[in-house]
Symmetry: C2
DNA sequence: ACAAAAGTGTTCTCCATACACCCATGG
DNA sequence: CCATGGGTGTATGGAGAACACTTTTGT
């Protein structure tokens, strides 16, 4: 896939968009023992940014965020969560906008709506790395995974947004049990533990982690997984979705 | 005090306000063993609403919220926390706006900016009940405390906003220790316990509560408080503000 | 002396930690 | 058979729940 889509109307001053509101998405995935997020790289600039976009007049924020996520990942039914709204007056920068536009062969009129002040609502999403098809938008030439441990400098306040998303993810990890959204439908206990260790940034004791997870009563043990390694074959588990509480 | 202020410019279409963004404040206080919030009642309508307002072009959301809080409480240095941004397309209602305007002797042009779609950022504040001077704004004739247990029907989605604020307050109570902001500078252990019980909506065991609070190491014991009651005089405590962690 | 509320101590349970021990697998 | 990693059991310590006991105050 990975091919740009049609030039979005949102880059022209259009009356069908809410003025002054944007959405930025921190899309988390997990692969090779590393927590990763999707970043866009703008054409010919070396500038990186979070996926995001604007809100249509007839659309609420959750819907807008979901639309953007589906565009960037080619997935539907994504777990996402609003976490904070960013509003400092200096968070945007006209020069950056011009650089991005120029590099992709456009010019922005001085009264282009993008030069208005914008307030941005941050969402984080948790996706199954293996099923995502990273898809750039019209003004970026790549959409790729970046390890949390080596995020480049991002435009505007996007580094701040990433950090706040990470803080929220860590804080909510236990209460929302949202670690499971980052794994494929079946996984081993070791994979789950690696994920927790990566998110929390610390080692956990294997045997205790196993008991804690099993005691939650939300995991179902499936067949063993033959890894081909010279050791005991681990069980596969799947997540039992909580009953829709009436 | 309690006297309306000058008619705010924000009720005319003004270019110095951000379009489509508002702030709503859930202001918590504690008195007589009851958790309370400040509500405005609009003139001659019987309609209740959260204090709120609009955001100036050169103002970030925290500043805007703080400005509104100071206007409604006559306090400065208020503890406040952003908790969620509300954006459903149907959250506002033109007829309600007209009712409120008409009742206070105004007419709204059909293209008045208030008929735009608005996205509202929710803040909750924790204040010392005893020092607040509830102050109505220009289009309301009262600003009063209401028990959490008997919140009337509010305009728009304000009941939803109150509930979300309460949920957040409960969830954060332990981790942010923000109960202390609701009490006067000195207080007894019993008052603190009543506050916790009210917020959490359940009884706590007195002796255990005492030990837990003291073990946090954030309370300083002061003199005893002579209540005049026929029982042992309780100690007063004050909150030791956490060191500004560099 | 008594009631009522504040403060302290004791016991029990539960859970997180740490670590020891068995089991399965492929080389 | 042995190295490796997966699964289970056991001892310990600390926090919370439940409750008993002591102390202080005004009537």
């Amino acid at each position: 896939m990975n091919k740009p889509q049609d030039f979005p109307e949102s880059w022209h001053p259009k009356p069908d968009l809410l003025p002054g509101i944007s959405v930025d998405c921190v899309i988390f995935g997990f692969h090779d023992g590393q927590l990763k997020i999707l970043l866009l790289e703008y054409k010919n600039t070396g500038l990186f940014a979070l996926p995001g976009g604007f809100v249509q007049k007839n659309e609420d924020l959750d819907t807008a965020a979901r639309r953007m996520l589906e565009d960037r990942t080619a997935l539907s039914k994504i777990y996402l969560e609003q976490f904070y709204t960013f509003s400092t007056t200096s968070r945007r920068n006209d020069e950056t906008h011009r650089t991005i536009a120029t590099a992709s062969g456009r010019t922005l009129e001085a009264d282009h709506f993008i030069f208005n002040r914008f307030i941005s609502v941050g969402y984080y999403a948790l996706v199954d790395f293996s099923t995502v098809v990273p898809t750039p938008d019209a003004i970026s030439d790549s959409c790729n995974w970046h390890d949390i441990s080596s995020i480049p400098q991002l435009i505007f306040d996007h580094n701040l947004i990433v950090n706040k998303a990470l803080d929220t993810l860590r804080f909510m990890l236990d209460s929302k049990l949202n670690g499971f959204n980052l794994l494929p439908p079946t996984f081993t206990m070791n994979e789950l533990q690696q994920l927790y260790e990566t998110i929390l940034g610390k080692k956990l004791v294997r045997s205790n982690f196993q008991r804690k997870m099993l005691s939650l009563g939300i995991l179902q043990r499936l067949d063993k997984k033959q890894t081909g390694a010279a050791n005991k074959a681990p069980y596969l588990y799947c997540f039992i979705k909580p009953q829709t509480t009436l």
